[in-house]
């Protein structure tokens, strides 16, 4: 099944480019200290806000720090939050979704109301509130994002489990005396993985976007940790002449978010049997 999906996915050139791009960004994030030309936190007040040149390829910020090095290290923050928040959302969402889909009835009803409640809140209000009031850090951002964005995953999982639970293999497992938890975790969830990965890909894109928005607003990862949104936050103060502070980090956020969105979108198309 996976090879069929892969073949359909790879038919889209855009999807393959996006996948390679995510690979490159991940590589940059992992090897950041090795490839960054300078220490991202080393200040040089003699070279404040200097435009891109041969020494500072992407210019410097208000404290004379090398923007290229801060961008390279910033990839870490974006990807760590993107992946970890999505993982948390997946765990919480799969749990609620599986219970709702498998047991139906009252369990389904309660989970549905819970999702309804979460969806009533403006997403950014909740995340901003949790992060700022509980003191901004990598952990609070991850937890706030994870706890507020699990609803999509829950609905995906619920739908899949509902579809799978009465198929022959599930009935066979039940007939052979498997416990509910074993049926859910060993038999149903692994089969629900593919559609859930679609929502996870969109989830990573959203998490990166929200993290950079928080850093931009000054309530994201604490300074001086380099982050893409953080550079943009400085850019806002010097917008009248420091164009390089605006263009490069914003482009990095945009392309990374777009890549994850494209992957999710094309992956969803690849899963859709009607696409052939």
């Amino acid at each position: 099944m996976w090879s069929v999906i892969w073949r359909r996915f790879a038919r889209s050139r855009l999807a393959v480019i996006a996948l390679i791009y995510v690979g490159v960004i991940t590589l940059i994030a992992v090897t950041a200290p090795l490839i960054a030309p300078a220490n991202p936190n080393a200040t040089n007040l003699a070279h404040r806000l200097s435009a891109p040149d041969h020494q500072y390829r992407l210019g410097t910020d208000d404290l004379g720090r090398d923007v290229l090095s801060r961008m390279i290290h910033g990839a870490r923050v974006s990807l760590v939050i993107g992946f970890s928040a999505t993982l948390l959302a997946l765990i919480v969402g799969s749990f609620f979704g599986a219970i709702a889909g498998y047991y139906g009835g009252a369990a389904d009803w309660i989970v549905s109301r819970l999702i309804e409640i979460v969806l009533c809140f403006p997403f950014l209000f909740l995340v901003l509130g949790i992060v700022a009031l509980f003191r901004p850090s990598l952990w609070t951002i991850m937890i706030a994002l994870g706890l507020t964005s699990w609803t999509t995953e829950a609905r995906y999982v619920r739908g899949e489990i509902l579809r799978l639970r009465d198929l022959e293999f599930a009935q066979a497992a039940r007939a052979s005396g498997a416990k509910d938890s074993r049926i859910i975790f060993r038999h149903l969830l692994p089969n629900a993985l593919a559609p859930v990965l679609v929502s996870a890909s969109f989830g990573v894109a959203n998490a990166i976007l929200v993290e950079s928005a928080l850093s931009f607003l000054g309530v994201g990862v604490p300074v001086p940790t380099p982050s893409w949104g953080g550079i943009l936050s400085i850019a806002q103060q010097y917008i009248e002449y420091a164009w390089w502070l605006v263009v490069f980090p914003g482009f990095a956020i945009f392309t990374t978010v777009a890549a994850f969105n494209v992957i999710g979108d094309r992956f969803r198309d690849a899963l859709d049997p009607r696409s052939d």
Partner: protein, 327 residues
């Protein structure tokens, strides 16, 4: 029909209770109360003064009692007084609301008026080269961070070209202008924030209306209409479009929270004096009554919008109200 509406309303009441409990629990899980913040602002307040404040905000009573006091207030839209300037929270929200509504309404209209026709066009021309290119374009649009777009717009139109104001809602000389000039001044200040708010929505409307129409076109009754010899235009306008517009109603409930979320960022960047700005300031100054009030108020607005959308949906589509219980 009545049974369906009654059931939806009962759910809404339950959701309302859930919303208030969730908000209240969240804010009380936060370390420190308004008093600690008051302390850091005012040096050495007297003990009786502190006790008086604690008493006014019911902080000296058990949590459940505090919740009951607060929830009672919420019912009558009384969210207490701001700890920042002691004005009623309701008054502060209502003061800023028109500014946010103006911005969001124009952005919504713009996005819907441009987005829906493009979406319908995309569904009708699905798969052709131009449609595929535009689909990728709108998809990328959706991934653009709004704060980046805002900064780029500022840099281009307010600094490089210097033809639009960089931020604010009116110019400094606003009070001295004539009525017509005032209107023009306000309009000029609206342009950049409206663009920033509407482009992402535009992408959503295109996508949503396209998928709604595509879904309808695949159904049997469209094949029947074609088979009986209806012209393609008649199939599109008489049969497909009508049915495709029904799911669009649900967008109503879905977009309001994301609009409000977007307002926080846009209003912060453009220094637009609306509720998004108010929320952000209240968060930073730990003005709990305002944070609580705004959160609950926006959630309730969303709740009503989605209730309204659901009922409208049931009116438009009999399958919903006569169908089974879809949770």
């Amino acid at each position: 029909m009545t049974a369906y509406v009654v059931r939806r309303c009962l759910y809404a009441v339950l959701t309302f209770v859930g919303i208030t409990i969730a908000t209240f629990a969240l804010i009380h899980a936060v370390p420190g109360d308004p008093i600690t913040f008051y302390l850091s602002n005012h040096m050495n307040p007297s003990r009786p003064a502190l006790e008086a404040i604690r008493h006014e905000y019911h902080l000296d009573e058990p949590l459940v009692t505090q919740y009951v006091y607060w929830a009672k207030g919420v019912m009558t839209f009384d969210f207490g007084r701001s700890t920042l300037d002691r004005r009623p929270v309701r008054e502060r929200i209502l003061n800023k609301l028109p500014n946010t509504l103006l911005l969001n309404f124009i952005a919504f209209l713009l996005a819907a008026l441009i987005g829906l026709p493009i979406g319908l066009w995309s569904a009708a021309r699905s798969g052709r080269a131009l449609e595929r290119a535009s689909a990728v374009g709108f998809f990328l649009l959706y991934s653009l961070p709004s704060f980046w777009v805002a900064l780029l717009l500022m840099q281009l139109f307010a600094i490089r070209l210097d033809i639009l104001p960089i931020f604010g809602m009116t110019s400094d000389e606003y009070p001295t202008l004539s009525a017509m000039q005032q209107l023009a001044d306000r309009a000029r200040h609206l342009i950049l924030p409206v663009i920033t708010l509407s482009y992402a929505q535009l992408a959503i409307y295109v996508r949503f209306s396209k998928s709604a129409l595509t879904e309808v076109i695949r159904q049997d009754f469209i094949t029947t209409a074609r088979a009986k010899g209806a012209t393609p235009a008649a199939v599109m306008w008489r049969h497909a479009l009508r049915n495709a517009l029904i799911p669009l109603v649900t967008l109503l409930g879905l977009t309001i929270p994301s609009l409000i979320s977007g307002s926080v960022i846009v209003e912060a960047i453009f220094q637009w004096d609306g509720i998004g700005h108010l929320y952000f300031e209240s968060i930073l100054s730990r003005d709990y009554p305002t944070v609580l009030g705004l959160t609950v108020a926006t959630a309730i607005v969303t709740l009503f919008a989605s209730l309204f959308a659901d009922v409208l949906y049931a009116v438009a589509d009999p399958r919903i109200r006569f169908g089974g219980d879809t949770p």
